[in-house]
Amino acid sequence: MALRPNKAKKANYNYIEAKENPNSYTTESIQKMVLNLEYANVDKSYKVIQVTSTLSGEGKTTLVGNLSYLLSQKYKVLVVDMDLRKPKIHRLANDTNQDGLTDYLLDVIPFEQLIRNYNNGLDYIVAGQKTSSVNNVLRSKKLEDLINQLKERYDYIILDTPPVQVNADALIISKLADGIVYVVGYNIVKKAMIHECIESLKRQNITMLGIAFTQVKLPKRRGLYHYYYDEAN
């Protein structure tokens, strides 16, 4: 009965393209990203991967969902929600934001309750209840110990973090991570701003694994060649 004035532009977080449409163009490009990650990671030296961007709404959480889903087909993967101010990972799994990372760090719940299973090979940790001292939580020794402990259990740990431009959280977390995947949304941020943010990350002595370009509007494909690939899908 009730109509909507303009269609909601933001898609549901629980929709994972790689799961629903395993042959689509988007999934193929994320698959390429998985391959690139494997090439960069021949020595298995990059275990903790941080995903961040310049501003909010560039597609971090969506990328984390798709990337971790595809990685989990080969490896044991853990996704940790480090965005303690606006957590979203629980929405990927249709879950509540209870009993999460902050609850564990404040000794409310034990370690056994922390990790939840999404899929075969894919686990996740939600952010937990909101705290007013985000900086203290992120700088704590207990978080560092937790990440070191988890490194032995999993092949990949993917950290979903806040954007760089907004607050200092992403820079603090970058000390825990081995490498960074930087998300750039198509036609959202000025180039100079991206350069500035990447510079500030590099000052923390961090390895940039690469840049993921999201929300790209493809031009209409012309010619005869695309028929071949379309039929294959």
Partner: protein
């Protein structure tokens, strides 16, 4: 058309609504004059009003007193959002899965988060007097709409609420058919009285018969008719 009121503070002695039994009964008489057939009493549940036993006791005495009158009453609660965060039991509308939630009208509160977590736990949130939250934008309504239903106050529809902007927002919500319920939010018989019939007539004239019936009766029937939903 017989109307259903989903938001009313006519229960005596529990919140800032009716003070005494007599006031309660005169408010219910006023509701009958407004063509209301079914009335859901929604006392506040917030920092100041946390009573549970008294509410049920007063509700039962009131139900006994007005059993001859042509009106049915049901019990619900209007929950403040911070009371919902970490409690397993909620005080729902007529023991259904529907929960009437109110938020802070001045400081922007996490409406989407609260509604989402309620939905995941199996509840169906209704955002009370949504026109009072001036900090919401058009895209916010669309996002919250995925998880919750919206209730608009009758006073805002008529343009006699304390804020002029309430009227403008309620006009937008009705024009685009985003609203799902209209409630009276009556607190007494004089200052914040029951204006549901006036609002029904205005919506019928401006936005059509079908939508007015949906807002005032058909949609609310699912709360009053089957208490297991």
């Amino acid at each position: 058309m017989k109307l259903i009121d989903v938001h009313n503070h006519a229960l005596f002695g529990v919140d800032d609504g009716a003070k005494t039994i007599e006031e309660s009964i005169s408010m219910i008489d006023q509701a009958i004059k407004n063509n209301i057939e079914e009335l859901i009493l929604t006392p506040h549940f917030n920092k100041r009003n946390k009573s549970i036993d008294i509410v049920e006791e007063n509700f039962n005495t009131l139900k006994e007193l007005i059993k001859d009158k042509p009106i049915k009453i049901y019990l619900g609660r209007e929950m403040r959002f911070y009371e919902l965060e970490k409690k397993p039991i909620y005080y729902t509308m007529n023991a259904t899965k529907y929960v009437l939630v109110e938020f802070d009208p001045i400081a922007s509160s996490p409406i989407e988060e609260v509604c989402y977590s309620l939905m995941v736990r199996g509840y169906k949130p209704i955002v009370a007097h949504i026109e009072r939250y001036h900090y919401l934008t058009a895209s916010d309504y669309n996002r919250i709409k995925k998880y919750a239903e919206f209730q608009v106050n009758a006073d805002a529809v008529l343009g006699i609420s304390s804020m002029r902007k309430d009227y403008k927002i309620s006009k937008y919500l009705l024009k685009h058919k985003i609203a799902d319920y209209v409630g009276s939010d009556a607190h007494d018989t004089t200052k914040r009285k029951n204006n549901l019939l006036k609002a029904y007539k205005r919506i019928k004239r401006k936005y059509g018969n079908q939508y007015a019936d949906y807002l005032f009766c058909e949609n609310a029937k699912k709360i009053t008719e089957n208490p297991t939903v």
